[in-house]
Amino acid sequence: MIGPRDNAPARPSPTTTLNRASRPSAGPGDALPDHPDFLWRNPDPKPSYDVVVVGGGGHGLATAYYLAKNHGVTNIAVLEKGWLAGGNMARNTTIIRSNYLWDESSGIYEHSLKLWETLEEDLDYPILFSQRGVLNLAHSLQDIRDSKRRVYANQLNGIDAEWLEPEEVAKVCPIVNISPDVRYPVLGATYQPRAGIAKHDYVAWGFARKADAYGIDLIQDCEVTGLDIVDGRVRGVRTTRGDIAAGKVALAAAGHSSVLAAMAGLRLPLQSHPLQALVSELLEPVHPTVVMSNAVHVYVSQAHKGELVMGAGIDSYNGYGQRGAFHILERQMAAALELFPVFARAHMLRTWAGIVDTTPDASPIVGLTPVENLYLNCGWGTGGFKATPGVGWCFAHTVATGEPHPYNAPFTLDRFTTGALVDEHGAAAVAH
């Protein structure tokens, strides 16, 4: 990792390090290795690009990567107002699954899951993708009916899904409390064995590194403050680091999508909410899978490092502040204890919130806009992480060809006018 640098000061050799005491000029840290190689350059913006992607999170980076890889478009800038992958990409609970109800959703989420399965080789970067399965618990007769319906729908779409009785749930995840003697007993669960988790930061870095290798400029600290639109056609963006001309502009800004769209005079059917998550201290491996419960209202997995990672529903009010109310966390932990009494002595270590852009039907909006050459990817709400490679692939296709990919064609903005909604409130679970 330590490469020669032309202008680097000479490092002390091992011999001189050993003799450091006799060399008063040696400073503290002199014996430490150099900073590892950076995974991407940190370039200044050029005056113009073929494509400007607004938003340097998972979706924006994946879109840029697939534009280069699948479509040969490399004159691209990814603009990020903060630091790369520091928004929801750094704040999600990393759950990956594709067991959604409708054919439209199965298409794009399963496409994404298939990409996840080869992503590590594709990016040539470790992402710790672990297919440890996900259980979606049922706690009532109606839950059972809805869950089985979803299992059958998944099977018809070629997605691995099965229904488990409570004893089978306990075999997959022994620490779930399946006692009938609780307020909301576990009556069964849907199980998707190919679902799992990945290391979110590594995923972002893997995409960023490959995008950079294609010559794509990843520009941080660069907030878009306006869109240059002439005669119904976007010509570029105005940013805190100057104006940038663009052939096409692709918006991938999650919670801030409404703010950006307003710069183009567009009103979106989105509401931005805080979504909180939390981790415990590091524990021995106790939780072998991912467990989600709509009724008890929590989802829990255990990260590779050992923290229990938990999330629940959004804070009720609109918010852009990346923090939420404490009573939401309290309720979330109460729910976790209901399902996992073994966690009673675990401590909450950190909590945080991201800003999620929710739609009326809990499905995303990916496609064209009324403004020519302006493309929109938003509305993933609480579940965008799992879609990262899949939406990157499809959004890149949309931007490169000017036509939606078949997998994102159903997720138009005008479905709210035509009525062709894709209602995934059930499968979206407590959150995705």
Binding site: S258, V259, R267, P269, N318, Y320, T417
Partner: protein, 108 residues
């Protein structure tokens, strides 16, 4: 926990309230005259500003009455509260709403 100033009950804890989304969305005066685009705007499209937002709240665990609030969506600070049916106040002032004492008539 954040305190919310109910216009009728004064400051109470946030858990006593429920959120009602954007305020000032009136039912269409002539529903039969609306086309699909206008219905979509009425049913599905809402403002989603970063900053002051006029929205409805209900004091569910208190007086159970609805009211409007102007709240900053970045700081979550309530800039002012006002009655249902009242005009949206200007948000040039960022001073927090003065809590109204118990029993005091809502000013609007």
């Amino acid at each position: 926990m954040q305190l919310i100033a109910c216009p009728w009950c004064g400051e109470r804890e946030e858990i006593e309230f429920h959120y009602g989304g954007e305020a000032h969305i009136a039912y269409p005066e002539d529903p039969y005259a609306l086309d699909d685009e206008q219905w979509a705007q009425y049913v599905f499209f809402r403002d989603n500003p970063k900053g002051p937002f006029a929205e409805r709240w209900v004091h569910s665990a208190g007086c159970r009455r609805w009211f409007n609030a102007l709240r900053d969506t970045v700081t979550h600070e309530f800039l002012t509260v006002y009655g249902i049916g009242a005009e949206r106040p200007s948000h040039t002032s960022t001073a927090p709403a003065a809590p109204r004492a118990k029993g005091q008539e809502a000013s609007r």
